[in-house]
């Protein structure tokens, strides 16, 4: 296969992230990222870094899409139906996405 370049592949955006994530901060999908819904979740492609990521859960996709107009990532998670006990896992997933530049902090409106 010709095409999915190695550095682009971040198999498992939900893998453990090393660092914590500011759940109370305001975030958004990077404007250079295209998100394509898939039955398993979504594919995300960053046109700047040319990285491809896989979002392996639809709930995570809902969270990521909602980030831009929620006051915090925590709020976006809650509204997507993420329970308190799952928050840590979602925080790790978001941290991984932040690390690869897929989502970025934003100044709240």
């Amino acid at each position: 296969m010709a095409v999915v370049e190695a550095p682009g592949v971040k198999a498992g955006a939900l893998a453990d992230a090393a660092t914590g994530f500011d759940l109370d901060g305001a975030w958004r999908l990077d404007p250079q990222v295209a998100l394509r819904p898939e039955p398993f979740g979504a594919l995300a492609y960053h046109f700047g870094t040319r990285r491809l990521s896989f979002l392996k859960s639809r709930v995570l996709v809902d969270v990521v899409v909602a980030l831009a107009d929620r006051s915090s990532a925590r709020q976006a998670c809650r509204e997507a139906g993420v329970g308190e006990r799952e928050l840590e896992r979602y925080g790790r997933a978001l941290a991984t996405l932040a690390e690869s530049g897929m989502i970025a902090p934003r100044v709240p409106a």
Binding site: A11, R50, V59
Partner: protein, 381 residues
């Protein structure tokens, strides 16, 4: 690992069973080329008079946008010789269909490089097949090394950023990998190393140019060391049977997550498989590319579980997946069985046992001055 309702399938299985749209695809815009590389996988040279018109190309871009295909790998032939090349690139970029195009560099002048540096969503791969002039020019033609370096100079001077230096691994350049990496570094570019396929004219030189088993092993170790610093287009996943997987998806995406559109609109499973057996349809037929992708018998078949054949009993099958379909096909090996360059040497045995049946020939041969399918000059030094 997964949050909120884990899918039953792993990603590799997901992808092997196909997606509604490709992640990306290769689009050879023309068979016309000002070079005549001995290993050209599309046997390019002359333009096909049935080539897709500008309007048809724009319609394909519209379709790719609707399908949310992230980017296309544009190649040829030499894609920049098409008069509407820049128009197609601009049209795609404006629709957020990313373009990564491969070029021999001949038309990457200073103004062209400046234009590229200013464009969003466009990436460039300059092909070169040797760090030294002799190694490169024996394969790509006299003057082609200088041509590629000139293009790289222009891109670097224009501040394009990290373009790609694209190298096909051969027996001649396997010893030059560090030099090639240094060359890419010097330009602030990224080295991309891909596998020599026995496709197109590559079939005629494959025996002489493919890396030796010892070189292949050394290259694998080198790639492991380089990690994500060197791109491979996932082309060495068959080598994961040496032990550790290289970075990448490590699967054959043909007809599942990638495909090829050729200059006349024929859709093949992958760029290395230009043969009737891997022809899924044509974008000019009713329903266009989308229906070929979603409904062609060939692609639906490729998305079903494939037989491992004799590889089924090998402990490494889960990582190497039997290797490259096109490499097996064009060397006359059964598709359910080892890759001709199997890391464990099973391919060599299969090659030795295959007898003297004639090998399949590609469906397309636009080579200049070559009526019989052979390149006019194979200069291998």
């Amino acid at each position: 690992m997964s949050a909120g309702g884990a899918p039953a399938l792993g990603l590799a299985e997901r992808f092997e069973s196909g997606l509604d749209a490709p992640i990306c695809l290769t689009w050879e815009l023309t068979y016309a080329c000002n070079l005549a590389c001995v290993h050209c996988l599309s046997s390019s040279g002359r333009r096909d008079p049935r080539e897709l018109s500008s309007e048809e190309c724009m319609a394909i871009v519209d379709e790719l946008q609707r399908l949310q295909v992230f980017y296309v790998n544009i190649g040829g032939g030499e894609p920049t010789v098409r008069r509407d090349f820049w128009e197609i690139v601009d049209y795609a970029s404006a629709r957020r269909v990313g373009v990564k195009f491969s070029t021999n560099g001949s038309r990457i002048t200073a103004p062209a490089a400046a234009r590229l540096a200013a464009a969003d969503y466009v990436d460039v791969q300059v092909s070169i097949d040797g760090a030294s002039v002799d190694v490169n020019d024996a394969i790509r033609g006299t003057g082609s090394h200088a041509m590629a370096l000139r293009a790289m100079d222009h891109l670097a001077e224009a501040g394009f950023g990290p373009f790609k230096v694209s190298v096909v691994l051969t027996r001649r350049n396997a010893g030059e990998l560090d030099r090639l990496k240094t060359l890419a570094d010097r330009y602030g570019a990224q080295l991309r190393l891909t596998r020599l396929r026995p496709s197109g004219r590559g079939a005629d030189v494959w025996d002489e140019l493919r890396p030796t088993a010892a070189q292949q092993r050394a290259v694998y170790e080198w790639l492991l060391d380089q990690g994500e610093q060197v791109l491979t287009g996932d082309s060495f996943f068959h080598l994961s049977a040496y032990g550790q997987k290289l970075p990448g998806l490590n699967l054959c995406g043909a007809g599942r997550v990638v495909c090829l559109i050729d200059p006349v609109g024929d859709v093949y499973a992958c760029p290395f498989a230009i043969h009737e057996q891997f022809l899924a349809g044509n974008v000019r037929q009713e329903g266009g590319f989308t229906s070929v992708w979603r409904e062609s018998d060939l692609f639906l078949d490729l998305r079903r579980p494939q037989s491992a054949g004799v590889c089924g009993s090998c402990g490494f099958y889960d990582s190497c997946r039997g290797g490259c379909m096109a490499a097996k096909f064009f060397t006359g090996l059964p598709l359910a069985g080892p890759d001709p360059e199997c890391a464990l040497g099973h391919g060599e045995k299969a090659l030795a046992a295959r007898g003297h049946r004639p090998l399949p020939r590609p469906s397309v041969n636009m080579s200049r001055r070559a009526a019989n399918g052979s390149p006019d000059a194979i200069v291998v030094v």
